[in-house]
């Protein structure tokens, strides 16, 4: 029955202390993000001209 389904995650209640951020270890995803950032100059160049153009007043 759907009502009996146990949900996998529950949000901590307001009374529970929030965790302090810990020192984070690098993951393979960090390398991928670094690769993305390596392409940033090219992305900036491609989008810069449009970035200066105002959009008409819209919804």
């Amino acid at each position: 029955m759907p009502q009996e389904k146990e949900r996998r995650h529950r949000p901590p209640g307001p009374g529970q202390p929030e965790k302090e951020p810990e020192e984070r270890k690098r993951t393979p995803a960090d390398d991928e993000i670094d690769d993305l950032i390596d392409e940033a100059d090219e992305i900036v160049k491609k989008n810069k001209e449009n970035q200066k153009k105002k959009q008409p007043r819209r919804q």
Binding site: H9, D30, L36, A40, N47, Q51, Q59
Partner: protein
């Protein structure tokens, strides 16, 4: 018993042309003209130079010089993800074709502000009961349904904000904020969309029989690229509305903002460290208490309440597909919430747009002296560009860094096939069967012409009719007139 939720988004894309001819404005007309000749376009007969229904049941039209894509009516939030993402492909492909045909470069961006003080809408639509619609749009501002609803809209930014660099609101500078739209939400409630934009938009266009169901127009949200964010936007918001229709919060008091909600929108949007405390009221039986809570403390209570509510109503969904979509929404929201509690924004990379952009901004800044102009060009423009070669988000997808909710195959299918149930697929098959007789099409009505006579086919609700009966009458009707007569018995 809540009204089943039909969900849709209307996304106003930003368009730029590298020439004066065609200008960006003219390019939108060209895009619609191209669409009419494509299999993506549906009402080839009834389409105007500025408007064409799509084979997937959605609509592309020109709105104040921009291409606006409306999803078809989606029966669950997972379908909303599929059709919202299909819109990106449709608009991008039309722009590419116009670029080739007109020998220019048309760029399309999916975002809600231009960084220069101009906003574009990504409006949401939800089917609601006439009673809840009246309460939200004209009830006393202190009514519990209104305070819970507006508080929910303000705190959901922490999960679904589109993220942007800087401020576009005078007197409230900031380096980065969760929402692109919050700076433009300045009123509590009204019928505006072009100025003085409100938290509660009161537009009363049901696009159906308003005695049976109304359409609630929500204009305070952002355009999203992350699939989980689109899922949470449609799913949590629908659940909240269902809970309000069931008066769920009556026995479960929730903290609410009682005043200055537009200001709180802007404050939450800037609270990217999630540390600030906000004054809230909790109204219980016979008592009202005032507390100071962080946005996560408030959000945690809302998610818990919605999760309990979903547990109670799961058996009421029309299909397993719809039920699973809401379970997926809740799982996604709890997981994201947990990462927000840990301030683990890296874990939200490719899940929440604003957290993704914040991580990218910090990494980009980490390379050394970066001007704000370059940062905006990379984070705001680059992220939102739909051109796969100029888009940061496309890079995320290529590298497997964007969390997927739906498959590429589902999105491809959604270019030309409507959702599986509801009004959209029925409208589409009527239009396909009587393609040569279409005189006018709107969401809730198709006018078919035969021998100088018009036959209006009207849908009472966005939920569609019994599929077996509908298919029987469509199959057995050889002409618009026969279909119209059979339709009248169906609609009665």
């Amino acid at each position: 018993m809540p009204t089943p939720k039909i969900i849709g988004t209307e996304t106003e894309y930003n368009i730029y042309s590298n020439t004066d001819s065609p200008s960006a404005d003219e390019a939108v007309n060209l895009m619609i003209n191209v669409l009419k000749g494509e299999r993506l376009g549906l009402d080839k007969r009834a389409a105007t130079p500025t408007r064409c229904f799509l084979a997937n049941g959605g609509l592309l039209y020109k709105d104040v010089g921009a291409p606006e894509y409306c999803t078809p009516e989606c029966p669950n939030p997972r379908d909303l993800v599929v059709f919202d993402k299909a819109g990106e492909l449709i608009v991008r492909e039309l722009a590419r074709k116009v670029s080739v045909l007109a020998n220019c470069k048309i760029d399309i961006y999916k975002k809600s502000s231009d960084g220069l003080g101009n906003t574009s809408g990504c409006h949401e639509n939800y089917s609601v009961s006439p009673s809840l619609f009246r309460t939200l749009t004209s009830g006393h501002p202190d009514e519990p349904a209104i305070t819970v609803w507006t508080t929910f809209l303000a705190i959901r930014q922490a999960l679904i904000g589109g993220g942007k660099v800087g401020s576009e609101f005078d007197g409230m500078p900031c380096p980065f904020q969760m929402s692109q739209r919050a700076d433009f939400i300045v009123a509590f409630r009204n019928n505006q969309t072009l100025a003085d934009r409100p938290v509660i938009q009161t537009r009363d266009e049901a696009l159906a029989d308003g005695n049976l169901v109304r359409r609630l127009h929500v204009i305070c949200g952002d355009a999203n690229l992350c699939e989980p964010a689109i899922l949470m936007k449609g799913g949590l918001t629908s659940l909240m509305l269902m809970a309000l229709e069931d008066d769920f919060s009556r026995d479960r008091p929730l903290p609410v903002f009682v005043r200055k909600v537009p200001q709180i929108f802007r404050a939450i949007s800037r609270d990217v460290n999630l540390e600030r405390k906000y004054g809230v009221s909790v109204v219980g039986p016979g008592e009202r208490t005032h507390r100071q809570l962080t946005v996560l403390e408030i959000l945690g209570q809302y998610l818990s309440a919605l999760n309990d509510y979903l547990g109670e109503i799961s058996s009421r969904f029309g299909s397993d597909e719809d039920s699973h979509a809401y379970d997926l929404t809740m799982e996604t929201a709890f997981s994201a919430f947990s990462d927000l509690m840990d301030r683990n924004y890296n874990a939200l990379f490719g899940i929440c747009d604003w957290a993704t952009k914040l991580v990218l901004a910090e990494r980009f800044r980490g390379r050394g002296q970066i001007s704000e102009e370059d940062l905006k060009s990379y984070i705001d423009m680059g992220y939102a560009n739909t051109d796969q070669n100029s888009s940061v988000y496309a890079g995320l997808v290529r590298k497997g860094l964007a969390k997927r909710v739906v498959s590429d195959e589902e999105i491809q299918k959604a270019l030309t096939v409507p959702p599986s149930h509801g009004r959209a697929p029925q409208r589409v098959v009527i239009m396909q069967k009587f393609a040569d007789n279409i005189k006018y099409v709107d969401w809730g009505k198709i006018t078919l012409a035969q021998s100088n006579q018009d036959f209006g086919i009207e849908f009472d609700t966005p939920f569609g009719y019994n599929e077996r009966v509908f298919n029987d009458i469509l199959e057995s009707s050889g002409t618009p007139e026969e279909f119209f007569r059979a339709w009248k018995t169906l609609a009665e």
